[in-house]
Subunit: 345 residues, 3 copies
Amino acid sequence: MTTLTLTEIAARLGELETQGDIQLQGVAALDTATPGHISFVASSKHAARAKASHAGALVLPTTLADQVDRPALIAANPLATFARITALFHPEPALQSGIHPSAVIDATAQIDSSCEIGPQVYIGADCVIGANTRIGAGCVIGTECQIGANTLLHPHVTLYAHTSIGAHCILHSGCVLGSDGFGNALEAGRWVKIPQIGRVIVGDDCEIGANTCIDRGALEDTVIGHGVKLDNLIHIAHNCQIGDDTAMAACVGIAGSTQIGQRCQIGGAAMIVGHIEISDDVMVSAGTFIAKSLSKPGAYTSVMPQQPHPDWIKNAAHLRHLHAMHERIKSLEKELVELKIGVIS
Amino acid sequence: MTTLTLTEIAARLGELETQGDIQLQGVAALDTATPGHISFVASSKHAARAKASHAGALVLPTTLADQVDRPALIAANPLATFARITALFHPEPALQSGIHPSAVIDATAQIDSSCEIGPQVYIGADCVIGANTRIGAGCVIGTECQIGANTLLHPHVTLYAHTSIGAHCILHSGCVLGSDGFGNALEAGRWVKIPQIGRVIVGDDCEIGANTCIDRGALEDTVIGHGVKLDNLIHIAHNCQIGDDTAMAACVGIAGSTQIGQRCQIGGAAMIVGHIEISDDVMVSAGTFIAKSLSKPGAYTSVMPQQPHPDWIKNAAHLRHLHAMHERIKSLEKELVELKIGVIS
Amino acid sequence: MTTLTLTEIAARLGELETQGDIQLQGVAALDTATPGHISFVASSKHAARAKASHAGALVLPTTLADQVDRPALIAANPLATFARITALFHPEPALQSGIHPSAVIDATAQIDSSCEIGPQVYIGADCVIGANTRIGAGCVIGTECQIGANTLLHPHVTLYAHTSIGAHCILHSGCVLGSDGFGNALEAGRWVKIPQIGRVIVGDDCEIGANTCIDRGALEDTVIGHGVKLDNLIHIAHNCQIGDDTAMAACVGIAGSTQIGQRCQIGGAAMIVGHIEISDDVMVSAGTFIAKSLSKPGAYTSVMPQQPHPDWIKNAAHLRHLHAMHERIKSLEKELVELKIGVIS
């Protein structure tokens, strides 16, 4: 178990103001922390909960400095600071360089000697894997893939041939990168497959969730920028381009050739049609269906509000007749005007 | 092929009233059954189909006892009884205790000698696996996982480190338990990863569908109760708690820290936002988006009704102007009142 | 690198009219093509882009023959022709017949000697695999599966026991076929599993996307016709029947026992409830929820249109009160009629 004093933590993270000192054994949430834990307070809204917490130390926003009588670190961004403290107490397991004897590695693959290649991995011809990268058990890496340094593939990741992954990435189990885009030409009622010859290119510092799929491009590449964070069970279709630092929650689907800007936040289960452009700094609400390009930053939504089922039944029937409802209102307005004229004249 | 008489079946299941006897070779649906089959009738609504069936025997609800001239078992819950009869005719393949020579098992893992460990499995350090549990081909079990007795992992299941699975569970292929929750702190436009140090805890008698993902908790654990049934391609985010005997159909997504009660039924493709509480005995309709806590049992819905596309085009345009429509109605009401006063006065 | 003249391409594809000749090194999109590339023009709408393209040759629709001063192939269906040309320049890697030494194959499996069986594959008892079929690294094939000739399983495909796949199919990584359907009988608040004894039967010329799941039937089979194209992360529940040449984009979910006709096109993230019938030639828009049978060909839609979030907030509130809004309009109409009678009389 790691033990650290508040002063040591401040020193490791650099440039943090401290208030008092204490020896700490770990991190915990405000409500469940005990005196050996450090916890965090996101904003001054939570001052009362902070005071009630049993945490031995707190990460406080500058607005709460001196407001809570407790050893503390003062941080501009308490959540980000707490994330780094959590990493100090819970470091990644030490890299165990080497290739497990059950792995099957093509003789032409260039794997840095510092890499950790797990059991039952397969790595194809002409792959290049950078320093300190870990490949978890059962991963399959197709021919001519490139993986940067300090990247982590959890077990059961699949990379199709020619996929390129940057440095400092995390790929979760079951994700599939480089599968064929869904391209078919209709000919006399049957589908002719359009070979998908583009690649998937992923930048540095990306995280890709469990069972997420990113298809290779049809003619050009599917490109995921730097710092992109994708949750589980996401589908990114062929030729999409996702801008730097964009994040998507789980179950999102992006259809083909859509371009998404930088720093966008796409809520869970949002669906975005193909061949559109989403500008930088767009927020799409969870469950929202985006059918048109969005050229301005801002938040966009399209979900039906939930109702008790009997109420929904009563209201939903009218959705099929909104146009008729609108026409009736127009007609009422016209008649009323005519009536007024009649009354007045 | 298994052959059983109706009397033998009744004896194996215990306490069932029989009507006549017959030798049977298997189970089938009412409409496709032949004289060697036993089928079932869910309720008296299906009496006519029951009479028309060629099934040699039937499981009948008590309301149809003596109404169908056929060997029969009389059951309070014909579907549940039929499920048990199906299991008699189609028992699981016999357990083949032992570890396949191609499996890679850490020396510190404690695996009951009755277990069946399939080809190309990897089991990490300090895992504990109970009696009569089967681990299918290609499964990857991270360090310090616990799996109860009589549990079945189909091929290609991934458990991250520290995951705990109860007894009598069934995990389907491609499901991933214990992947990192989606936790990132935004700092100057970039994401700082929040290490996810909680676990996934699954109770007894659970079934988890193919390619379903359950993320580990951020600080505390993600907890799946006893008897929970999850279909395919479901996402359960970090810190969720799912109550006992709750069932979810395929493609459901549950965002982080949401608590769902006991005996809930969540329809396919329903999406539930984070940080809310759903009470016991709630039914969520398929395709429904739940954005707020639900404190009362009952059924809730929020789907748009389908329409022929040209009708939808006409109606959907008005959805963007419902508020304006409402204001026009208010205005009409006001004018009409004024007009009436004018007319009357 | 493959090099082909326009005349050679025309000869390989058969019966195509050519206009001029040129030596070509590959295919590209209109806007990125260089003089060594052949590109395509889908319709005369794109005539201007065609003229501006740097492509050395073009596939032109008959309407543009002689309209573009460039070596060209004249095709009734330029996209389908371009797909075949792409395949000429990018042929599948040559089949490497044989079984990788790390694969584990049951002694009773019948595998054609021309097959390519990759590393760490597991093939169970009594499987039958046709000529020229490739099984990618880490695939798991359960007992008594059948796979036709010239079929390709990418890495990490899972087939449960008794699954049958036709000839000339492509299965992408992470797809799971034959997992148990979601069948449970509710008994005193708990779920009793209904054993799923049907199979999954897939026809010829099908493509199944990454991490897509197709469940086995409960009593009968789940049947996917010939020429069916399924994208990634699709769920097909037990007992569904999908007609020939139907295509589904990613993230679609089809609930149990639903029958879908031939040549349907199901948009991404569409959800279709169970126990309904969709006729031939139905198009379902992306994101649409289909809750009732569709007996006529045509396009159907049910998505909420997106709005800036503040507008949505204003409008969505009224969705809960559409019935009341409708009643107010009815009431206004009645009052107006009464008023008119009063005015006129």
